[in-house]
Amino acid sequence: MQPATPFVYYHCACPDFFQTSGRSVDASGSRDAANDSSSASDRQPYVPFGTSIATDTDFSLFPLSRLYFCEDCHQIRCPSCVQDEVISYYCPNCLFEVPTASVKSEKNRCARNCFQCPICQNTLSVVANPDIPPKEPGSPEDETKPSVNPYHLFCGVCRWDSQEVGITFEKPTSLAMQLQKSEDASPDIKEFDHLKEHFEKFLRYNTPQSLPTSFLSLSSSGSFSKMGYNTSMQNRKGNVARMDDVGEYKASEHIPHGDMDVMDNLINIQEDTTVSNLEQRFNQVYDQPYDTNQLKPQRIHLRIKRSKRCRTCRHILIKPEQKAQATRFKIKLVAMNYIPNITMQMLPRKTLPLRQNVPTQLILKFTNPLYEEISVTLATPQQHQTKGDQVDAPEDLRKPWGRVTLLSPHFTVGAYNETIEYDDELLYGKPSALSTPAAATWENGVYEKRNNYTSILIEVVPDYEGDFKFPLLVNYSYKSDEDQLDTGGYEDEDGDDDDDEGGQKRSQTLERQPEERTKTYSFWCVVGLGEVVQ
C-alpha cells in the first residue's frame, strides 16, 4: 500500500436526506420517514474526527472535481445526492447510439459486432483467416465439404481465439445476428417457458375472478389460512377443477449433472490455468463452466449518459450532449466554479513527511472562482476526549489528532478576472497594486495575496504516527449584486467557532436589499497531509 498523498476533500452533508428537524424534504413529497425507530434518518450535525475519517470509504467526502453546486439552493451537491436520469444509451466500443427499443430487446448489449474476450474481458477484433477464401454469394452449396467460415474473433491482449471454442463467422459484419440462433437454443430458456405454462395453468384455476391474490403473499406473511380464500369457499361446489396444489411436473429439459466430470477433471490437475475464475464464470451465468475452454465471448455491455438533477429544486446540474462521441456538456454547474479551491504547498526548504511532535508550517492556498471578492473565515473543531458528545463516532478513534493553528483565520481573496490569464505581469509577477509585499507581512499569517488567490500559513503539530488528517470549517461570504427572489444564504453562527457544534446551518432571512446582498456559505473539508514519521 502506498503511503497516502496529501489531499483536500470536501464534505457534502447531503441535506436532502438528513434533516435533523425530521421532515424529509424530498421534492416528490414522500412521507415522513423519520418517525420510525431507526436513528440513521436522524443524522446529527457532522463533525469529522481527524484520524477516524476513513477517506477511502467515507462516502460523504469528495475531491472538488466530483462535486456539483446548485445555484438556486446555494449548496453543494455530491454524486450521492443528485438524481440521475438516463439521456442516451451507447456502446463503448463502437460508440453507436442505441435507440431505447433496441436496448431492451437486445438486453443492454451491443447488437452489432462488439464482443468481449471471455478470458480477459477486453474487446475482441474480427480477423480473417487467410487460408480460407470468403464464400462467393453465387456459388453452389458444396455438400461434401464441411462449411468452414473465414472470419473469427481474436483478443489482442491475451491472444485468445474464438476458433478454440468453435465460433467462426461467414461475414465480418452483423456478427451478433449470426450467433443469435445458438444463443436462443439454450435449454434454460425452454425450461423456463415450460415452467411458466405449468404455473399459469394452476393459477388460472385457483385465482378467483375478483382479486388476483397470489398464493405467495398469503404464505409468506406467515398466515396459515386455507389457500382457497374466503370468497371462493362459497363457490367450492361450482368450481370443479380446483387444485389445492400444483400437479406433478415433468421437466422438459434434462441435462445430466456435470458435477462428477468436473470433479474428475479437477482431481487430476496440477496447475489451475485452465480453471475459470468466478468473474469469468459470472459472465456466462447460465452455464458457469469450470473449464476455460467452454467460455464463450459475450456481447459488450452498453453504457448510458446521464443527466444529474438537484433533488430539492429539480434544476438540472449536469446535462451532457446526446451524441456518444461528444464530451461537452450543455449545462455544467460544477462546484469548481462556485466554491474556493483549496490546495497545499510546502514552504521552501521544508519537506514532507511530517515528523511527530515537530511543529511544521505549511501553506494553504485558496483560489476564488467567483467574480466578486470573497472574505473567508476558517475554524477547526475543538478536540474533546469526553464521551458526552452528541455526535456518534467510533469509540476508539476519538483521540485528538494533533494541534493545528491557523495563523490567520480571517482573510479575503480577490475576485477572478479573465485578464489575469492574459496579463503576464499579473500572473507571474512582480508585486503590483493587487498584491501585497511578500515576506514582510508574514506576521498576519498571510503568505501571499495575489490575483484571485490567497495563501495562508498554518502550523501543525502531529501527535500520533500514521496518516495525519484534520477537518477544517470554511465559511466565506461575498457581496452579490444579482437580483434574486429567495433568500439563498446560509449563515454560520459565528466566524471563529472553535467548539464542535459542527456545521449547523440556520437559514436566516436577510434584509432584502434591492441592489446587493451578502451571500455566505460554509462547508467542512478534510485536509490530509500524508504520513507522520518519528
Binding site: S30, S38, H254, M263
Partner: protein, 449 residues
C-alpha cells in the same frame, strides 16, 4: 408452444422465444434482486437467468496516490452485512447503508440500465435475515431510488418453483449460513427452520487454517518449482480473496467420507484417503519472478469436510444434522412428501461433489446410524427409502446459485410475489413473519375479534 396469453407484444424482427415475453416499454417487468452477503444477483423478471452477478465489494473504494486517482476500485473482499446487525454500532450501520446505496445505484445505472421509478422490485429474503437489513434495503430503494414498490418474498419458496413444485425441503448453502426450510403447499414452515453457520465462510476459515499449517510458499528461484525451496505461507499472503479464489476454483468435496473417532487427528486420515493431486497455484508476491502456492491435494479435497462435521453442538450443525432436525420437527404426516423433494440451492452447493457427498452422508446416517444419531433421529430414519433430490428430473438446467433468483423471475412474470409495500404507504417498517399478525381474512381471526 409458449403461452401467448401472457406475452404482451410480439416484437417485429425478433423471432426468439426469449424476447417475446417482454413488452417494449418494460412497464410490466419487475426487477428481481437477490442481495446476498457476497454477491448480488440482479435482473428482470421473465428472463431465465439473472443479467448480472455483482460482487458486493467491487468498485466501492477510491484511491489516490502519487500517480493519480481512481474511483471505482474494488475494495477488499468483505461481506456486505453480517447476521448480527442489530448489535452493531450505528456508525457501522451507516456504512452498510451507504455501501448498499452505492451498490444499488451501480446496479441500476451501470448494469441494468433501467429507470428505478418505473419498475417494481422483488427482493428475495431468507427467513432469518435480520429485519433491520430488510428495513435498510427498503429505505435505500424508496428514498434514494424512488422505486414504486418493493415486495419481499421467500427465496426458498421461489427456488421450489423452478422445479415445478410447491412442496419440498429447501437447503440454502450460502456464505454466512446454511438454512433448511421445509415448505408445504407453498407455505414456508418457518417455525421449523434449521440453520447453521457451517457454510461458505466456515469453509474459508478451515481452508485458511489448513493452508497455513500444511501449504507451502515457493518464492521465485532459478530451480524448478518441484525442487525449489519452500517456506511456510505467511498469514498476510492469504487474504480473503485469495482464499475465495482457491476455494471456488480448485476445491472439491471428497466422495469418500472418512470416519475416525473423535480423538484421533483427522489430518492423517485425510492424507491417506484423498485422491486429489497436489497443485501449484500462482500467487503474486513482491519481487521479480513467479511465486507459487503449493496446495497439497488432500487439503483441497478435504477443506469442505467442515460442512459435514457432526459436532454434537446445537449451534453448529452439519448439513446432514440440520436436514434431519428439520424433518424431526415437522409433523409426521408431511415428512414423506418433504423428503421426496429435497432441493439444494446456494453458491456453496456448487462445489463439485457436494451433492453426491450430501446424498451419501444422508443415506449413511439414515441407514446405519450411530447410537447417538439413533437417539436423536429415530423417528425419521426409515424415510431413507423415499429420499430423492428434487432436481434429478431436470438435472443441471438451472445452476444452484441462481435458482432462487430464477424462481423470483418466474413469480414476477406470473405477477405474483410476496406482500407488496408501496412507496406511498411505506412508513419505515417492512412486513416480516416475525412482526406480522395473523391475516384478518383468516376465519379463526374473525371469530376471536
Amino acid at each position: 408452444m409458449s403461452s401467448d396469453a401472457f406475452s404482451s407484444s410480439i416484437r417485429p424482427g425478433s423471432s426468439s422465444l426469449y424476447t417475446r415475453s417482454h413488452s417494449i416499454y418494460g412497464i410490466e417487468d419487475r426487477i428481481v434482486l437477490d442481495i446476498g452477503s457476497l454477491y448480488i444477483k440482479c435482473g428482470f423478471s421473465g428472463e431465465p437467468r439473472p443479467r448480472h452477478i455483482l460482487p458486493t465489494w467491487s468498485r466501492q473504494r477510491r484511491s489516490q496516490a502519487s500517480d493519480g486517482e481512481a474511483y471505482c476500485i474494488s475494495s477488499e473482499f468483505s461481506e456486505l452485512y453480517e447476521l448480527d446487525m442489530s448489535t452493531r454500532s450505528s456508525s457501522n450501520y451507516n456504512a452498510f447503508e451507504q455501501r448498499l446505496a452505492r451498490l444499488l445505484h451501480d446496479i441500476y445505472y451501470r448494469l441494468l440500465l433501467a429507470d428505478p421509478k418505473s419498475s417494481k422490485v422483488i427482493i428475495l429474503e431468507s427467513p432469518l435475515l435480520p429485519v433491520s437489513i430488510k428495513q435498510t434495503i427498503a429505505k435505500v430503494l424508496f428514498q434514494k431510488l424512488h422505486v414504486p414498490s418493493v415486495s419481499f418474498t421467500s427465496a426458498h419458496l421461489l427456488a421450489l418453483l423452478t422445479i415445478g413444485q410447491t412442496t419440498g425441503l429447501v437447503i440454502d448453502c450460502g456464505h454466512l449460513e446454511m438454512t433448511v426450510l421445509p415448505i408445504y403447499a407453498a407455505r414456508p414452515l418457518i417455525p421449523f427452520t434449521c440453520s447453521s453457520p457451517l457454510a461458505g465462510r466456515a469453509m474459508n476459515a478451515r481452508l485458511r487454517k489448513l493452508l497455513v499449517d500444511h501449504g507451502r510458499l515457493i518464492l521465485p528461484s532459478t530451480l524448478h518449482r518441484s525442487i525449489a525451496p519452500r517456506t511456510h505461507i505467511p498469514q498476510t499472503l492469504l487474504t480473503p480473496d485469495v482464499i475465495e479464489d482457491i476455494k471456488t476454483r480448485i476445491c472439491i468435496v471428497s466422495p469418500v467420507p472418512v470416519s475416525g473417532d473423535s480423538l484421533s487427528d483427522p489430518v492423517d486420515l485425510w492424507k491417506d484417503f484423498s485422491a486429489a493431486t497436489d497443485l501449484y497455484h500462482p500467487i503474486a508476491t513482491t519481487g521479480e519472478g513467479k511465486s507459487w502456492l503449493f496446495v497439497p491435494g488432500w487439503v483441497r479435497e478435504r477443506a469442505a469436510e467442515v460442512l459435514f462435521e457432526n459436532d454434537n453442538d446445537d449451534d453448529q450443525k452439519s448439513v446432514v444434522e440440520a436436514i434431519l432436525d428439520a424433518l424431526c420437527k415437522v409433523q409426521p404426516d408431511i415428512r414423506k412428501p418433504l423428503v421426496s423433494n429435497v432441493l439444494l440451492i446456494g453458491g456453496t452447493a456448487m462445489l463439485p461433489g457436494f451433492r453426491t457427498r450430501l446424498h451419501q452422508e444422508l443415506l449413511r446416517v439414515m441407514r446405519s446410524p450411530t447410537e447417538s444419531e439413533k437417539r436423536h433421529y429415530s423417528s425419521v430414519l426409515r424415510l431413507h427409502q423415499y429420499l430423492t433430490f428434487a432436481d434429478e428430473n431436470g438435472g443441471d438446467v438451472f445452476k444452484s446459485n441462481v435458482r432462487a433468483w430464477i424462481g423470483g423471475s418466474l413469480a414476477g412474470s406470473l405477477k405474483t410475489s410476496g406482500p407488496e409495500v408501496l412507496k406511498e404507504r411505506w412508513n419505515g417498517t417492512v412486513p416480516d413473519w416475525s412482526t406480522s399478525v395473523l391475516n384478518v381474512g383468516n376465519a379463526t381471526a374473525d371469530v376471536q375479534h
